[in-house]
Amino acid sequence: MLSIDIKKELRDFTQEISLSVSEGETLVLIGENGAGKSTLLNMISGLLIPDSGTISLNQRVLFSADEGINIPADERNIGHLFQSYALFPHYSVYDNIAFGLRCRKTKKAEIEERVNVQIEAMHLSDLRDINVGSLSGGQRQRVALARALVLDPDLLLLDEPLAAVDVLMQTEMRRELRHRMKETNIPSIIVTHTFADALELSDRIAIIQEGRIVQEGSPEEIFNDPATDFVAKFTGMENLFRGKSMQRADGEAEIRVGSLVIHTVTPLEGDVYVAIRGEELIFSKEALDSTARNVFSGIVSEIKWNGVLSRISVNLGDIQLSGLITRQSLTRLKIERGDPIHVSFKASAVHIFPYTS
């Protein structure tokens, strides 16, 4: 198990992170560029030194500011995969994978055996003696994984493992990567900036913003209940507005967004963000007599056919709501641009976040 509790002053902000990863768990760390994701990985693998705090892995203290401990990177036994894979350009596939064992002065026969096991497992037999310059993105990723795994690392760190791959190849490589991660069962941290990667690869997700973790949980938890407007945007909530929350006597809250009043339940008062996921919107030609607490009427400002689901935008005067509906619904409702329409959504579909300037 990995436990981190560190602090480091960076150029733009202070990084302050507490995290743990259990045996066999895959934690995905999501955040924007420059949020401090790679910095964190570098501190874990020993390439950067935190200002204070501790890092320990399986009862072994790797770093402790108080005790003056800082195990150097070459003695931590952590596999670190870099965004560009960082394969050594002057070596063959075999020599890349053998590098770590050779540095440890392992016996030649043992190197040969252990490297061959990895080469087999990663389907690299045909490429064994090829210079790494001519490999494809997927092959590079496999060599980088093999190079780390041959050393039996106690932890795997993967920095944007799919960023260097062609868009068309990403889905396939994402699946392959997940498959290999599950196979090895080594605890790991994967850094990415797309929510799609996180959903596919993670057991648990942590969202990092300006050096701090703003939310942590299972993919479902984060998707269903984002903690801040930032996380909401990341999970693809299209409808996000500023509003003013007022508590009513009956326990409900009224959120004013321009001239509209949205009903929901929230303990927050004053300036807030209001977010509604596009697929929670219900569209109808007539006003529905339903349990949905929020019903508004507006004009269809746009219909964008978008593959499986179509996106429909409705102008409510001060704001614009965007929703997703299936092709069948679109055909059935016979909606066209400029038509009047009703939009309704449940009080529970409304997400409220504190306003952060």
Binding site: A73, D74, A86, F88, F99
Partner: protein
């Protein structure tokens, strides 16, 4: 159309200034005269001396310059930019100034030389002075190239090597130097060529004694007043070497 013509004339004129003089060297001597010059003692002595001194100078520059350029490409410390500037200085410093400076430092009446003189050590006007002059003027050619080559090695390779268990020395010998090697070699070749061509600093600090300090460029200067063919032969050899170096 006029644009292209103007370009063409300027380029042609420029190439004339550069190429025509070198071609002239070859027009002023017959192959027989060239071959017979090659056995003149003054020519042979100069060639042997140039080859030995330039080789030793290059080895000294590599030995002393590699650590400096590696450190300056990787470590940020106060005063690094000053040291970078200083190591570049000999590129623009006139060789005559370099020669005078070396004389003021290591000459018989020089700042350090006067002390060395007490112990009977004399540097100026010896073969060692030739080497010192060559090291002084030629070192930036290696150091600049080496620093650029080390900087071009993405630190991610070194970081990857570290996380795979390589010690600092292993990172340097197995990753950094091999990846930078082609730049290091071309820097060393340039340094060798510059050392071979050194004239002004050598003339002033080491003098012009056949077999002892008279390298090929100095021999050209001397023989052009007595035997023009010896001078042209030496010049042709140096032209050929220069071409080989920059190819």
């Amino acid at each position: 159309m006029g644009f292209n013509l103007a370009l063409f004339i300027l380029i042609a004129l420029f190439l004339l200034i550069l190429i025509f003089p070198i071609a002239s060297l070859f027009l002023k001597i017959t192959p027989e005269e060239f071959v017979s010059s090659l056995s003149e003692p003054v020519v042979v002595d100069a060639m042997v001396l140039s080859l030995i001194t330039a080789t030793i100078s290059t080895i000294i520059v590599i030995t002393l310059g590699t650590p400096l350029s590696y450190v300056n490409s990787r470590v940020k410390y106060r005063g690094r930019s000053i040291i970078d500037t200083l190591t570049d200085l000999p590129i623009v410093l006139p060789p005559a100034v370099a020669g005078l400076a070396l004389l003021m430092a290591f000459g018989r009446k020089g700042v350090l030389g006067s002390y060395l003189n007490i112990f009977g050590i004399q540097l100026a006007f010896t073969t060692a002075a030739v080497i010192l002059a060559q090291v002084f003027v030629a070192s930036p050619f290696y150091i600049r190239q080496a620093r650029a080559s080390f900087e071009a090695v993405d630190p991610i390779y070194e970081n990857a090597a570290k996380t795979l268990g390589a010690s600092r020395l292993q990172v340097l010998m197995k990753i950094t130097i091999p990846i930078a090697s082609s730049g290091l070699v071309s820097g060393a070749i340039l340094t060798f060529a510059r050392a071979l061509g050194e004239f002004g600093a050598t003339l002033m600090f080491a003098g012009n004694y056949q077999g002892k300090t008279q390298t090929m460029p100095l021999a050209i200067y001397t023989t052009m007043q007595s035997n023009m063919y010896d001078a042209i032969s030496l010049a042709i050899i140096l032209v050929v070497i220069s071409f080989a170096v920059i190819m």
